[in-house]
Subunit: 213 residues, 2 copies
Amino acid sequence: MGLMAETTSASAPHLTDQRLVKGARSRASIARHAADVASVEGLNGVSIGRLATDLGISKSGIATLFGSKEALQLAAVHAARDVFVEQIITPSLREPRGVTRLRALVDRWFDHITEPAFPGGCFRSAALIEFDSRPGPVRDALAADHDEWLTFLATEIRKAQGLGELPSGDADALAFELDAVVSAANLARQLGADAKVATARSIADRLLGRSEG
Amino acid sequence: MGLMAETTSASAPHLTDQRLVKGARSRASIARHAADVASVEGLNGVSIGRLATDLGISKSGIATLFGSKEALQLAAVHAARDVFVEQIITPSLREPRGVTRLRALVDRWFDHITEPAFPGGCFRSAALIEFDSRPGPVRDALAADHDEWLTFLATEIRKAQGLGELPSGDADALAFELDAVVSAANLARQLGADAKVATARSIADRLLGRSEG
């Protein structure tokens, strides 16, 4: 017992760290797969059993990491948000503020739809509609993520207006309209109507003061 | 056997008619309930078992009328389409062609969102996103219904352009943009963000050349 206690006190922190790192890595990759499944079959198709079968992991392993179907769905929402931030927001922030950055954001947003990071297209778009009539933590997380994006977009629009690069006007309304058009493009693309994505791009160009054609 | 044959030939057509009428009526009310369920829980939540429980009908009764879950989902799509035609298109066609009719259509479309005919908001919007990654007859029916609506809207826009009441331009793109904005308003309303519905209405007014405010 003395030896065991010594061994434990000497090596356990290291082992625990490794386990934590490994656990976090598994957690992240399970959450990412959950987001993929949700983009095609809906967040309601995400269950501990389904993920266990897909990934060849035991149900109890996934249950240990997430606890419940709802926690798994929330993890999928956060994983999808991370992908969106990494692919669209972070690289665009390298551009100078104003319409240059706004156009970079919108271009990447369209790329996110035409070459989707998720097999079923835009995760947010699909999940929001799926959960809009189901009050609870998942709907709250999706609505907060959506609001955060619209607020960010409106802030960038205000910067462009402040620089005189866009006409003054309701920045929140313009953010809403851009989001509406890109979401409709996502739906069109998922339905195979690629010509409508081009239509949506020229509407967005017009809204951002870029000459058409 | 002679008498039975006679009785049958005399009264069966009448009985059969009654049965057909009764069957059609049950079919319509079951399909309508299926559309209600789909608007909240998704079309995938529509099953023969679920409908039997909700309506207090035997599963075999529903199975006799519809045959399969997919046929039931298709019937829900058609029932929702009938509601949309009845509430939005038919009354607007009484208005004179041109912007008057277009505005009547868009006003009724917004009313359909703020006082939804379906408990979960716009049926089409929710079902399209749910099925956009699931090829098959249900997705085809939803996409055809959506295309038909956009084509109708573009035709009415062209009439208004022909009358000089709207500036000339891509009528299909304007129909796409209106549909995007109204769909985004539906989502906002379902998430309790009613202020965004007002935003969407003024965007639609601007698109239809109606002065804002």
